[in-house]
């Protein structure tokens, strides 16, 4: 046992870092030094704990106290009370919204109860910048054991029998993909490529894994290299992820300096090294052929498959592309065995899946659950239900390529096939929750704006077709749509899906099709009644002052940014509809509830 008696883990993920966690870390170090306790209390900058809603998070070990929404000013009190005197600081503990009780241990929080962390096993637990901590958690043991005891073919068999499927979206069996790549000869080189070009709006699981546990990716890529006979690995990562890039680069360097990357790893015949390639953050570059072109310095445009990258990939050489989360599962499969892995989750989708839970849900954050957990469990048990007591309306899964699911789908056990059957998809795991105030045509418009912006423009259906779809959605949300527009939306969507060159175009109309299918009435209300049932589309709503309730306090008129409200003190006020910009400021200001939205 060392002299260290306590560990203070401060979240160093991008989310918490942007709410001053660096200052919290500095304050802890300073406070502990002042009290000459810096030798016995260790401050550790960890990866993401997942509970981003309540960040910055500070966890204290060994008593497992979980402090939420900590500010730099709170540090003094935590040190004085908790670390010196052994008393918890109740005001910084998580309060259960249902029971109003303080919960000091993350194990007892609803947010964590149903989670199972496989890909995120080390996130929020180890210091991602310290290779020793990764080794202490069995890091590189899977690689070491494989090099000593298994042939490449046996490695592939084990991945196959674990049933792991690609977590980037498609769900293709990983072992099979490795097997394809292993078949091609590698005399002029073969590559293992890690796809860290996470582009779905609202998704941040890959970033968090790279920030919180970068060595797991280095180790998994090496395992893949051994299995398929490659000696070179490349991580394609978007440059907008500076912290992930920094931690990954650090991990590669420390692995290299300890001989875990490079020539003759752990005394074996196997040599492997990893380089980083930066992307500029284009959605389509997540598609493997576009990603490879981008790495070669070409425009990040996809080409049709076959040939698959397994045959002709980077520089025309056989290449295997897997996403970050897929790789993160690999060392765990070898540490615990393929049977263990396949016993988790559902029959056809074994293992767990990380979701980036966002939108109108109480607990926004990173959530890892066994496949087969229902949407209801994720949104209501882990996510804590809908924000502000509003009603659940829909959940969008799979990013722009996915679709919206409704109340009827809530009890669907989440896995690749069930989500597809329900009319959406797994995608990379973005999960955006919507409430009754969200307008579905406007949601579809939001996703179309994204895909139109991100289309590479190479093929006409995607470049022109999606633009037309967006224009129609704009007409509808402005109250200028016609019933024919709804038909055109449907027909054109089908054509774009059938004729686009790559996955981006083939899936771009999905948000429209799924909302048309499930929220048809809402579209009809927009085009036939010129009405937005959720009160979201500005052009279709108006604010009115109820003369019976107005007291003439002048508050609304003073707040109105467009000078659209007239009336003098103690007289009934009126909104000039032509000048009104529909910001709703008047309604928020009125103390008498006299203003309503219709």
């Amino acid at each position: 046992m060392t002299d260290v008696k306590m560990h203070v883990l401060v979240c160093g993920g991008t989310g918490c870092m942007s709410s001053k966690s660096q200052e919290i870390i500095d304050n802890f170090r300073r406070c502990l030094e002042e009290r000459r306790m810096d030798q016995e209390v260790k401050v550790i900058v960890s990866g993401c704990f997942g509970f981003c809603e309540k960040g910055p998070i500070v966890k204290i070990a060994p008593d497992n106290t979980f402090y939420v929404q900590v500010t730099p000013e709170d540090v003094e009190e935590i040190v004085e009370e908790h670390i010196v005197k052994g008393r918890k600081v109740p005001r910084l503990l998580y309060v259960d919204p249902k029971t109003s009780e303080h919960i000091s241990d993350s194990k007892h929080m609803d947010f964590y109860k149903k989670q199972m962390r496989v890909a995120l096993r080390n996130c929020g637990f180890i210091d991602p910048e310290n290779i020793d901590e990764y080794i202490a958690r069995d890091g590189y043991m899977a690689l070491g054991t494989i090099l000593e005891t298994l042939t490449p073919a046996e490695v592939i068999d084990k991945v196959k029998s674990s049933g792991l499927r690609g977590r980037g979206g498609g769900g293709f069996p990983t072992g099979l993909k490795w097997e394809f790549a292993s078949r091609y000869s590698s005399e002029q080189g073969k590559y293992v490529i890690c796809n860290a070009d996470e582009g779905d709006p609202g998704a941040f699981m890959d970033r968090s894994i790279l920030e919180g546990d970068p060595h797991s990716i280095v180790e998994a890529m090496s395992i893949c290299g051994y299995a398929i006979g490659a000696d070179k690995g490349l991580v394609y990562i978007r440059a907008e992820y500076p912290l992930a890039v920094k931690r990954l680069r650090g991990a590669i360097e420390s692995a290299r300096s300890t001989g875990l990357l490079g020539k003759n790893i752990l005394g074996s015949e196997f040599s492997f090294d990893i380089d980083i390639r930066y992307g500029a953050g284009a959605f389509v570059c997540g598609e493997e052929t576009a990603l490879i072109h981008s790495m070669e310095g070409e425009r990040g445009e996809p080409t049709s498959k076959p040939p698959f990258p397994a045959e002709k990939g980077f520089w025309g050489k056989p290449s295997n592309v897997n996403n970050v989360e897929t790789f993160a599962n690999v060392p765990a499969i070898f540490l615990k065995g393929p049977d263990w892995f396949s016993s988790i989750g559902t029959e056809k989708s074994p293992g767990t899946k990380v979701f980036a839970l966002a939108g109108k849900v109480n607990n926004v954050g990173l959530v890892e659950v066994p496949m087969g957990t229902t949407l209801r469990e994720v949104i209501f048990d882990i996510g804590g239900g809908i924000r502000g007591g509003k009603r659940f309306k829909a959940v969008q899964t799979g990013g722009p390529s996915g679709g919206c699911l409704t109340e009827q789908d809530l009890d669907t056990p989440i896995d690749f096939d069930n989500l597809l059957a329900a009319g959406s998809m797994m995608g990379s795991g973005g999960m955006i929750v919507m409430d009754e105030t969200d307008c579905m045509p406007a949601v579809a418009k939001f996703y179309l704006e994204f895909t139109v912006e991100e289309s590479c423009g190479k093929c006409t259906p995607c470049r022109v077709g999606n633009k037309r779809l967006l224009e129609i959605l704009e007409k509808i949300t402005e109250g200028k749509g016609t019933p024919e527009d709804l038909k055109t939306l449907k027909d054109l969507s089908g054509v774009i899906k059938d004729t686009s060159l790559c996955g981006l175009g083939q899936t771009a109309p999905n948000p429209i099709l799924s909302t048309l299918d499930k929220f048809w009435d809402e579209y009809v209300a927009h085009v036939e009644e010129r009405r937005c049932p959720s009160g979201k589309c500005r052009k279709l709503i108006s604010y009115r002052i109820d003369p019976d309730l107005c007291r003439g306090c002048t508050m609304c008129a003073r707040k109105c940014p467009a000078d659209a409200i007239s009336g003098s003190i103690k007289e009934i006020h009126v909104i000039d509809q032509d000048r009104c910009v529909k910001c709703g400021a008047c309604m928020d200001t009125c103390k008498f509830g006299a203003i309503s939205k219709i």
Binding site: P62, N64, I131, T258, G259
Partner: protein
């Protein structure tokens, strides 16, 4: 760190590094561990609580007991019997021992932490706190 040349070496390093994350791993199952809290108010420190804490840790380490975690705490109010130590065995109520120094250190480790039998010098808990 120098280069790791074999799986055996990696295993050795893992064993050495285990202690780096040990506290955190233990923390996940804190209710299954023996928790030892040493009172470190001014009175405690003057009475030798620091030596007591070091002695307890040494005793536990030398016996190879690995399910004990140590914390320090402020004055528990039993200034008359410093150094005082509160020990919580898994699933049991905390027990406070007074005058823990010298031979009593090994006696408490041997008889209470290992065997689970009470030793003389237990201070009855005389108050309630708002956290109960």
């Amino acid at each position: 760190m120098s280069t790791i040349k074999s799986l055996d070496e990696l295993k050795k390093i893992r064993a050495q590094m285990k202690s780096a994350t040990e506290l955190r791993e233990k923390g996940q199952e804190i209710e299954k561990l023996v928790q030892v809290k040493v009172s470190m108010g001014t009175c405690g420190i003057v009475a030798g609580a620091r030596e007591t804490l070091d002695g307890l840790m040494e005793e536990v380490t030398s016996r190879g007991i690995d399910n004990v975690v140590f914390t320090q705490t402020g004055c528990m109010g039993y200034c008359h019997s410093e150094p005082t130590v509160e020990i919580t065995l898994p699933g049991q109520d905390p027990v406070v021992f007074g005058d823990v120094s010298g031979n009593r250190i090994s006696e408490i480790v041997e008889r209470y932490i290992v065997e689970g039998e009470l030793v003389d010098g237990v201070i009855p808990v005389a108050y309630k706190t708002i956290h109960e």
